[in-house]
Assembly symmetry: C2
Homo-oligomer: 466 residues x 2
């Protein structure tokens, strides 16, 4: 197969992985989320992607699209006998028009590069899923990735005005464009967004950007515990504040990263005051509240936040450096993983007023299975990264962890939530959709897959409804 | 048929229109956009809608969903032998949770009612297509309606977190819910949004709302002509201003509504100054610039607008009452229609930097066909309501008008624009999509229709790609 692909694409664009290959897994490191690619193709043009899809369709070979490999649900893990199509060499920035608030990039351009280009031009690209240095725009679009700023600015799809994609049996097409409104045809663009490489392969993305907010203020509101924390998040929203981010870390999570808490000052109504030493005593829940706008506006929103939450809070701190706070926040994942050697987690969503209930239920389930748990995520959207800490050598714990997550999916489906908020379905959550959707909708999901991919060769086995 | 429907739904829910019936047309009053309904069903529950779809599917009867009847492309016009399903009696507000920024309404609730309920609760519902007293949420969703505020706040679809809809062959389903993030299945919600009753019938909508901006400032920037006006719109965006609306009226349009221009003051950097008498002399193009935010923010944005555009403008006026200005703007349609007895117009979109070219080309085409033209719309989105003034008694003029629009669709498709921005495709623009989309995408459009409606009974003949 590798030989034939070399003839098709050129030998320098085909790898034949021997032994341990990074293309065989994703960032989850999770049991069961591993595969074996027969070959890895590294096309450097969209036309080569189209040729590859054409070849696979002709020869009945499964094809797995891969971005930065930062996924957590096995979406990019190769299935039996498949070719991996890594988009990492599609790196061109095709257009950047700051005055028109837009940029077009190929699938392999990293999130950080897009963010940086936008910022250098006085603009702003909202979506900020983790692993910005590795994650790529094609993958972000394929998973409709979120991040803290999705609360105010929407998930990746909200920033996409057009896509270029390869569809079966090997055709390169464009959907959308630079226009901001278009009701001429059914919404193929949003059908491809979040389809995880199962309906087509995104090769380039047209992004709308926004003028950068001139100022941001980031506060960490520490509360006594979960009940107070969840109530505080609701109070902030009910108070009419519109934060640009409203993340949470529960008490267990805070305890694991307390040592790394960045230098801060205690926030007063007029701004940061005296220096704080680490996290405050009695902190059992943390809300990261970011507000943005003009200087005057962020000052007003800071004051409003304190007025709404100050009375309930253990303390409100403001980091000396905002970037240090977000680095600390990004450190949660490795810290949690390191505590017992591994973690098993699920990205789920519930209506925001059910956040507390979902967290309580999750903790109960984990306890019942004898596992230590913690949770963090995007409070403003009821988006929870529910996590259990496990010993990677203990099959019993790993089994128990899977049972916990299985139960959790049932709980969120029962709360009119979703089993997948921003990390996709991949291999991990296959079969869960049927819990959440009615049979007719599930059937349409499957029929749409067959329409786009009649031979079931595009990332087969992923995003399955049942 | 009416008798059988009466048995199914109850006689009080079925009309058998005799003679001239409002259900036979839409608000366009356009030649060719008329039909004849065999019966009109007025269900008052979603279950009755499902029963109706089931009956139609069993008896091979076409079914045309109808909202407020304010469409302009014949989307709600009955096809031969069809039943009209008017959703006007589905009027319940199912949920209103101001603290959670959300509202659920049935399809027949008017835009104005949603806007009013939101405002009474300190919230804001962004979409504002015209005819707010008549247009209904179900219809707005079915056409993915826009309006001036779509520039900052997105079209109707951006406000919809969940839908209830009846799909063939008669099943009531829900898609989405209150959650703000969900990647569990393919995006059926966005597929239904804008599908104009051809894939299913929307019976209820879950809407996200936003805290109301505390203050707005509306300015009308008058410029010498089209070139200056289009350049000014681009300059405003390039300057980093993010207006909540950026509408335009060309010189011909201004001339038709000059007499009704509302009382205003001349705007200075610090706010409105001396009184203005009507529109300024030399006004050949108008930009309605609305900015919103806190008082301080709107003041800053007013100053910025004047800094960016003041030098180029003939005058910048601020209405004494903002609502009077928008009423004046809503008066464009009747004034234009009244000038020669009728108008023929098309809602098209081009990338914003092509706005000037599109307007020039449109005027040339109209002139070549011997017709007087004018244009207005949403400058910030390149969304043009291109209009020719005609004598409704002149078949020659009406023919010429159709030719003008046909040419215009070709022009916008050639500019990577869209033949339909916010008014839908309906009957009027059937067959135009194939000019704009590649064959494979057109094929998918048609396959999706067959998937949802295998018997082609849901609003048949509408939104056709070729």
């Amino acid at each position: 197969m590798a030989r034939e692909l070399s003839r098709l694409l050129g030998a320098e664009r085909v790898l034949r992985p021997e032994g341990d290959s990074p293309y065989d897994r994703d960032a989850s490191g999770r049991r069961g989320l591993e595969g074996r690619a027969e070959a890895v193709a590294l096309p450097d043009t969209p036309e080569q992607v189209a040729a590859l899809v054409g070849w696979c369709y002709e020869h009945d070979v499964p094809l797995v699209a891969r971005g930065g490999g930062t996924g957590l649900v096995g979406g990019a893990v190769p299935s039996e006998g498949s070719v991996v199509c890594s988009l990492e060499r599609l790196r061109s920035v095709r257009e950047l028009e700051p005055g028109l608030w837009r940029m077009s990039v190929e699938a392999g351009v990293t999130t950080r590069h897009v963010q940086r280009l936008a910022r250098e031009n006085g603009l702003f690209f909202g979506p900020d899923p983790g692993a910005a240095e590795q994650s790529q725009l094609g993958g972000n679009v394929a998973t409709n990735a979120g991040g803290p700023h999705a609360l105010k600015y929407g998930v990746t799809g909200a920033w996409v005005t057009g896509l270029e994609a390869v569809l079966a049996p090997g055709e390169l097409i464009g959907v959308g464009g630079w226009i901001r409104k278009d009701v001429a045809g059914y919404d193929l663009k949003d059908l491809l967004i979040g389809s995880e490489g199962t309906l087509g392969i995104v090769t380039a993305v047209r992004l709308r950007l926004l003028p950068a907010p001139p100022s941001t203020v980031t506060m960490v509101v520490f509360l006594g515990g979960r009940d107070e924390g969840c109530a505080a998040a609701l109070e902030l929203l009910a108070g009419g504040l519109r934060p640009s981010a409203l993340d949470f870390l529960d008490g267990e999570t805070l305890a694991l990263v307390a040592g790394a808490y960045p230098p801060s000052r205690v926030t007063g109504r007029d701004g940061p005051g005296g220096e704080a030493r680490g996290m405050p005593d009695g902190a059992g829940f943390g809300l990261i509240v970011e507000v943005d706008g003009s200087e005057a506006e962020t000052a007003a929103q800071r004051a409003e936040t304190l007025e709404l939450l100050g009375g309930h809070a253990v303390a409100v701190l403001e980091p000396l450096e905002e970037s240090a706070l977000w680095r600390w926040r990004d450190g949660v994942n490795p810290a949690v993983t390191g505590t017992r050697g591994a973690k098993v987690s699920a990205d789920v969503v519930v209506p925001v007023e059910r956040l507390r209930d979902a967290l309580v239920r999750f903790e109960e389930i984990a306890e019942r299975h004898g596992l230590r748990s913690c949770a963090w995520g995007h409070a403003g959207e009821g988006n929870v990264h529910a996590t259990v800490l496990v010993d990677p050598a203990s099959e019993r714990e790993l089994d128990a962890a899977e049972e916990v997550m299985e139960e959790l999916y049932g709980v969120v489906a029962g709360m009119d939530g979703s089993i997948a908020g921003e990390h996709g379905v991949g291999l991990l959550k296959r079969g869960q959709l049927a819990r959440q959707w009615e049979p007719r909708a599930v059937e349409l999901h499957e029929q749409i897959k067959r329409l786009f991919d009649p031979k079931n060769l595009l990332n087969p086995g992923k995003k399955l409804a049942r």
